[in-house]
Symmetry: C2
Subunit: 488 residues, 2 copies
């Protein structure tokens, strides 16, 4: 009888009775030192626990160090106030729950929003500087050292009608991409802590007792195996699974079509597998963050996206991640961006048009779109665009101009041909206290998870840039605190 | 510290060392006697095993008895041949893999197609009669006692270009709905077998040994608990989870919007929970069969479906389940069906129009669709419809007539207001041998699953009417055979 072994990753736990002796002991053992792990370790330490942090590579940082460095925080942070934006936990909650539907974890979103100002202050207290300033170009982190950005379409339809918009993407004070500096700050905070960090050490296996309680982990350093006792708990913060081809193809086949992965080698699913091996349930394993970043700079949002039927499907001024999610999950990744010469010139950023024509008919025909479809779509769009309106998708009027200036350019954004990027947002099912849950929704004693090893608070859909780091850092801290408080 | 206990269903297995004595013993224990369970039990018996079947309710049948009774089979069955349709395992495979993407389990689809003629013969040999006839009305089971139906849009775009179309929905020979008669036949076959069936008996708990091997189950009859030893294996065929509100809201929030569930009380997720409790991985828990049956009879396919933006999204002549999947997963359940008076008269089946108008403008305005959207959609549709063409979605020309005869009727098919139906198709991850797999893709010794307790062979999307019964019956037999052959 054959078995389908998708990848030779061990996840079966070892039984305590098979452990000859423990080489190390700590109250809280944190596996993986990206954003979630750093936050968990620091918080556990500050809650009075004896901590051991384990990092697979030579230094911490993880995929967080590879990111834009935007952290989603709000409700009235010091930066929001200084930059003149009103916000409240309630408006932040209304936005995040709506944008994370269906399937938003309302209990987690509530906790995340209510503590968000405190969370911002915690980062500053641990050495991460944020300039009191706003950057006007939405969606992407600032290229200056400015802080606040609209990262999630908060000021776009339909969200602007659901909650009072406020920018909530906070980038630490550094020029350009914020991820490396952000994690440098976090690693500085870790270094100031008394707990040891074991680097170049990989954890593949949990240790359980006869009642299924997680009581430790097996770590390997250059082939040497050490058994580590965790008297209060193990926190899995070992990344997602976008780089595990077998897991991704099995659970998230649409994400396998995306060419660029926001990842480090650590995102091989090991953390999730270890959780599954002790009975953890998983959630939303098919979902991910998906970015279709062709409307950066936002000036290009004056163009229109169409699907393979030549029909529009979204307001082009919204967050490019929402465009990516809709483009992949609802349109199968078969999308195109149409620009006229005036949009093209305004937004010129080296985008090569795939098809160019003096008329819309010509572009439609060249691209092989259905006869009459693009022409009809543009006719309807232009009819209202002349009045600065978009009754179908409610693009903001400042982003609307009729597409009437030839030549017309169509950019092939189909997922096979274009640069999309993705990471996984599904993972271990965790409680609002970051406990790992089994299929009954009951906590597995001694096991915690955060970051992309855990399922995000959002259900279908990725809320916006910075929400993964927001979720990872906040529920990482929660995990560290929960583990530290557990009576082992 | 709080835990999120979504529902008080126990799934934790019992350890063999905690079992005082076993009350019953069999080689293969089958839990649940719907289509999958009946097939598993019969096949295990015929493979020489000593079998015990356990049914929660007073008699077998399950949700299968509640269905239309169409079983998806092909590759050249006796009925297909007699009715003059050519088919082959290869064409069946090409269709099923394409329609089940992304994420189709190609290995399972291959096995399913290659053995499909044998599977049909097996049903007949076990007393299920099929008339050698074809029923012309696609998608739904015949209202006569005729057998074959196009149930899955095989003859519609794009599938008709991918594989040679053949009808593969086989309904047993009975007038009207086939489910009750179909399961009557299966229960007849079960009765002719020597194995005992314990009815009114519920299994909540598996029994495992110290190596994690499944060695039995705990059964309850009117409060009395009996421990049952399974020396070769336990087969979980206990239905899906559409009636478990907590599981459905957590894993498949979109399905929670659907008002009608194809289910019996047994579809409470118990089988999946028991599997999870012994380390099984789950797959595609967010997915389901979703039917939007407004184009039954197919004559109504001459109308057009539009989304909340007043734009078309599918060829209306395809299987109403494909319309349901696209309508729910891609359009958020916000869809409408537009008919003109001539379509409405042709298809009249008591459908109450939600809005009626003498012009498209009037209907558009009354229904609150975006200004100009429906008008533009109909203009483009009519332009080609006059020539019997549909370049955008490729509806078959016999289903195309221009929508030009007032009054116009718009049917509100939004998921909040209309009759959609659904059941879950995600569940335990199983191998092509119906072994239940853990997160590593390794088989959990002694545990098998089929029917809606297991994830279907399809990934995103439900292939078509009859494929759930096809999958359940075929992989149910495989489960019975695999368990019978296991060296316990």
């Amino acid at each position: 009888m054959s078995t389908t072994r998708s990848e030779a990753l061990p996840s079966e736990p070892r039984r305590i009775r098979d452990i000859a002796h423990f080489d190390l002991e700590a109250e809280v053992v944190v596996v993986g030192l990206g954003m979630a792990g750093a936050c968990a370790a620091i918080e556990a330490q500050e809650a009075g626990a004896n901590v051991l942090a384990i990092e697979r590579f030579g230094a911490g940082g993880g995929t967080s160090a590879n990111s834009g460095g935007v952290i989603y925080m709000g409700g009235g942070t010091a930066v929001q106030k200084a930059a003149g934006f009103e916000d409240s936990p309630e408006e932040m909650y209304k936005f995040l729950v709506a944008v994370s539907q269906p399937g938003a974890n309302e209990e987690k979103v509530r906790a995340f929003c209510e503590a968000s100002v405190e969370h911002f202050d915690w980062f500053e207290a641990h050495g991460m500087p944020f300039k009191r300033s706003f950057h006007h170009e939405p969606s992407l982190e600032s290229i200056t050292d400015d802080c606040l950005v609209y990262t999630s379409g908060e000021d776009c339809h339909p969200w602007c009608e659901i909650a009072k918009p406020a920018p909530r993407g906070h980038k630490p004070q550094v020029v350009n991409k914020g991820g490396p500096f952000m994690m440098q700050c976090m690693m500085g905070a870790v270094e100031r802590m008394p707990f040891p960090v074991e680097v170049d050490t990989r954890v593949d296996t949990l240790i359980v007792d006869d009642d299924g309680v997680v009581v430790g982990a097996v770590a390997k350093t250059a082939g040497d195996e050490r058994c580590i006792r965790a008297t209060k708990g193990v926190v899995l913060t070992a990344g997602g699974f976008i780089l595990n081809d077998a897991m991704r193809d099995l659970h998230a086949p649409l994400l396998s079509k995306v060419q660029v992965h926001t990842a480090t080698e650590g995102d091989d699913g090991r953390g999730i597998r270890m959780g599954q091996g002790v009975g953890a349930a998983t959630l939303y394993m098919d979902l991910g963050e998906v970015a279709l970043p062709y409307t950066i700079p936002n000036r290009l949002s004056r163009g229109i996206y169409v699907n393979q039927h030549g029909l529009r499907f979204i307001n082009e001024d919204t967050y490019y991640g929402h465009i990516g999610i809709a483009g992949l999950y609802s349109q199968g990744g078969q999308v195109y961006l149409l620009l006229d010469d005036s949009c093209y010139e305004r937004g010129r950023v080296g985008l090569e048009p795939s098809w160019v024509g003096e008329t819309i008919e010509e572009v439609e025909r060249e691209a092989g779109l259905p006869e009459g479809s693009l022409v009809s779509t543009v006719e309807l769009y232009n009819r209202h665009a002349g009045e600065g309106r978009d009754p179908l998708f409610h693009k903001r009027s400042e982003m609307i101009t009729p597409l009437v200036t030839p030549p017309y350019a169509l950019i092939d954004c189909r997922v096979e041909n274009a640069i999309w990027s993705a990471f996984t947002t599904g993972g271990l099912h965790t409680s609002v206290d970051s406990e790992v849950l089994n299929g009954d929704g009951a906590a597995i004693p001694g096991l915690y998870a955060a970051g992309r090893t855990a399922a995000m608070f959002s259900g279908q859909g990725y809320p916006g840039s910075g929400t993964s780091l927001g979720d990872a850092s906040f529920f990482g801290r929660v995990a560290g605190r929960s583990a530290a408080r557990r009576r082992g």
